[in-house]
Every structure is written in structure tokens, then in C-alpha cells.
Symmetry: C2
DNA sequence: CGTTTCATTGATTAGTCTCAACGAAGGTGG
DNA sequence: CCACCTTCGTTGAGACTAATCAATGAAACG
């Protein structure tokens, strides 16, 4: 486990890098003023670092400003399940702020820039800006919606469909925050991550990805996966895509 | 699909049947006054009825007052995944209130009594009673936490462990709202529901349940499953149980 | 009393896991 | 700069898990 490094650039909310994404709902000046005070600075963690750890109480919650990460849980004997991925705009650690302790861990896949909030200030946010409280509920509900789809996939899709769904899903999410280039996307993960997401062994994952690659939909490259054709992935997985609606962020 | 029947008994919030459960956090008189106005009456649906349907927009959200139900999603070819079960105190349909339309369905396993709220009033709730907004976020976060565990189970536990986990999980939830009698519990479901929860075929589910029954932890009875010994189930599934904390309800 | 739903069982097939081995690439230290 | 080491991807063989097919029994339902 790599440790968390010291804060780097200091963003101001008025300069928040997230405000430029068309699919994210921007804040009113009042809200920006409040959030500038509510936030606690930002944090850069390196790839592989653990941001939040299962079983611990965290004094903070975070919004991802840039980079890729994932949430996961493990059984006592080490079997690991990746629950979901985190991308720019996502709020992480809310659970630890509401309940007593975190029930899952969060790890960085790439260098991750985080906007830091103190959990004790959360009730004040609900009091002062109910609209922001509503936004947080919205984000929690969206996370649940994504989990529902992932669970459907792991429970009921075949290995090939599951893999196709995963990359279509990640492509769509990445596109909504401007991470695609020329309709292509490079996702920084290992086959082990894919295996732990799909609930498959690493060997079978490799064979499944190989088969999927013959469709031309994706290609495995040095330390990552390049998505080439999302329409093929959507067809194979029989996935319609998530409704693309403007979403809030904090 | 059975239809929804007409309202039955009219509860007042001051007489809410949920207030007697020790694990549920009761409301202040102010909140009760607000909720009495916010709520829209109640509704009784019969076993097998569909309460909310995937793809539809619902004008309502509900709190379960009594009974069992489940949330589920299906692929276009009919493969179904049960996402989670709903028990007294659970809020359902929040997603449909925040997003445009429901992304999952909810069906009754037993007769279900529901407290009905209008979705348009939700922003007003956040404005007037931030504490209740916070509670709703808490409930959404708890749902996510349960889904995380279920996903870990479906992705990484063996069939036998998965089945044991499911019944241990449902037992613990049912106990928290007083549904157990003499440390036993009857859950009103079919093996098909178990199969669709665990991501297994009905035949293999039957064989797995047979094996699990030999441990003495449960017994399949007429139209349901009787849980006899949760400690055995927890041992087989290597599950520690969820932290039992007081939780809010609306 | 027939009809439907649900649980059960055995046989066969398909999918996935484990074990094992190897190659390529990158990083590290001498 | 090279040798070594580690990580990651790849491949094949064999074992095991779970799916499918098919048939039957038991109970509830109308």
C-alpha cells in the first residue's frame, strides 16, 4: 500500500476544473461561496495509493477532480470484489461520513486529484444549503443505480457479455467527463482488476478478453485497455446505456 | 402482474407502526407534524403485486410499513436479477423521484403496507427539514452499503457461501424490525427468488439449498424458507454481520 | 378433479477454475 | 550498461462447478 502524498496545486472553487464538463450542473454563486469555505483543500495521490480503507473511520470525504480509482471489498481469505470505479465528479467516502466506519476501500488506478471535505461539516451543509443536500442524495442514488446494473451484470450476464458491459459502461462514464479522444479511450487497469470486477478468475478473464478483442471492440495495451468501438460492446452486452442526464457535483 | 389494491386502514404518523422498533430512530414532534402533511396516505398491495416498474416514472415514493418485497432488474431476454429485498422501514422509489424514471422494479413477496409520499414534495422536505433530508441520504447510503455486500457475495462467494450469506443477511435485517420469533424466521419466497438473487440456475439452487439444509441452519417449508440457526449461516458464509446501528426512517 | 405451480432428481454438457509453465517488459541494483 | 528480479499477460491440461435438458412428484388452486 502506497501512502498519500502532500497537497499539490490549490484550486479555488471558482476555478474548479469540474465546471467545464457539460454534463455537470454548475453551482450558484452562493453555493460556490459556501463550498469554498466548506472544502478543506485538495490532495493528490499516486497510482496504487489507498485513499480510504474498509473498517476505518475517515474524517474526510472527497470529490474526484481528475484521475481513475475504484471501490472494493474483500473477504477474509483475500478474495476481492471491485464494486465500482470512480471518475471525475464522483463523491467518495460519503458512507464513512454517515455511518460509523467505511465498509469498503478506495484505491487509485492513476494519479488522483481530490477535493477534500470534512465529514463533521456535512450536517451544516444540509442546514445551510438544502439544495446541496439534495445534490448529495442525488449522487448517492446514482451510485446505487450503477451498482444495480453492475449486480445484474455479474449475476446474470455471461463472461463475454459481462466484460463487454464493463468497458461500455466505463467508456460512457469517461466520455461524460471528457476523457475520450477521437471516440477512443484508454483505461488504466490490469487484467486482475477486470477479473475482480467481473467475478472471474484471472485466467478466464484473459481468455475472455482475448475473445472480445477479436471483435475489434477493444485492445489490450501496455498497462491498460483501449476501447475502440463502444457500439460493438453495447451490442455484445445487450446494454442500452445509462440515460445521459446533467448531474450535480459537490 | 397483479394490480395494486385500494388503500386500507389509514395510519396517522403519530401512530406509525414503525415507531415501536427499537432500532429505528423516532422523529421530533415538529418532524411528525411535517411528515403528517407530507405523506399522502397509505396503500396495501397483495403478494405478487408490482409496486414500481422499471422504465416508468412514478409520482410516488414509499416507506414500507409491513411485509416483504424485492427490487429487481431484467435483461431483454428475460434473465432476472434480484438486487435486494425490502423490509419495514425501507424507503423505495427514491431513485425514480430524483432521476427521470425508475431503473428497477419492486414487487411484493407478501402483502405489503406502504406509506405513500409524492415525489414533487421532496425538494420541500429538504428545504423545510434538513434533518429529514439528511435521513434520506443516510437511507440511500445504507442501501448502497447493502448492495456492496451483495455484489461481493455474488461475485466472489461460492454457491453454498452465497446462499448462507443471503439467509444470514435477511435474518439480521428481519430481526432488526422484530420479525423473528424465538430466534427463528420464516421468509416468504420461492427457490426461484433465491436463484435470481444468487445468480444461479433454479436447479443448482435447489441442490445448494439441499446441502445447506443438512447443516441444520435452515429448512425449506411450504412456500418459504425457515431460518433455524443464523450462527451456522454466518460461519459458512464467513460473514460478520452488518453493524447494528439505530437508523432513521421517513 | 383436473390444472398449474413449485420442488426434486438424474444425466449430460458447457463454462469456469486451478495448476503449471513460460515469455515479455519494466525496474533495480551492481 | 547489464544481469537479475518482479510483474503482468498468455497458454494448455485437467478438475470441478454450474447450466441445461428432461422427467416426476407434491401441493395448492380453481
Amino acid at each position: 500500500m502506497k501512502s498519500i502524498s502532500a497537497p499539490a496545486t490549490k484550486y479555488l472553487c471558482a476555478n474548479c476544473p469540474l465546471q467545464f464538463h457539460r454534463q455537470l450542473q454548475n453551482h450558484t454563486p452562493d453555493e460556490i461561496a459556501f463550498l469554498s469555505d466548506f472544502r478543506n483543500g485538495d490532495l493528490v495521490v499516486e497510482a496504487g495509493a489507498t485513499v480510504l480503507v474498509e473498517g476505518a473511520t475517515s474524517a474526510h470525504l472527497f470529490t474526484v477532480l481528475s484521475g481513475w480509482g475504484f471501490r472494493h471489498k474483500t473477504l477474509e481469505d483475500g478474495r476481492r470484489q471491485i464494486l465500482n470505479y470512480v471518475l471525475p465528479g464522483d463523491l467518495i467516502g460519503l458512507q464513512g461520513s454517515l455511518m460509523t466506519e467505511m465498509q469498503h476501500s478506495v484505491e487509485a488506478l492513476s494519479p488522483l486529484t481530490l477535493c477534500v471535505f470534512r465529514r463533521d461539516n456535512l450536517p451544516k451543509l444540509f442546514q445551510s444549503f438544502p439544495s446541496l443536500g439534495y445534490d448529495i442524495t442525488w449522487l448517492a442514488s446514482r451510485e446505487e443505480q450503477m451498482l444495480d446494473e453492475i449486480l445484474l451484470s455479474v449475476g446474470r450476464r455471461t463472461a463475454l457479455e459481462r466484460a463487454a458491459y464493463l468497458f461500455a459502461f466505463l467508456y460512457q462514464r469517461a466520455r461524460s467527463v471528457g476523457l475520450t479522444r477521437d471516440d477512443r479511450l484508454v483505461i488504466p487497469l490490469r487484467q486482475q482488476h477486470v477479473a475482480d470486477t467481473l467475478g472471474l478468475s484471472i485466467v478466464h478473464t484473459n481468455k475472455t478478453l482475448k475473445k472480445l478483442a477479436t471483435s475489434g471492440a477493444l485492445r489490450w495495451i501496455d498497462r491498460g485497455c483501449e476501447v475502440l468501438d463502444i457500439s460493438v460492446l453495447m451490442a455484445i452486452s445487450k446494454w442500452q446505456g445509462l440515460p445521459e442526464v446533467a448531474r450535480p457535483y459537490i
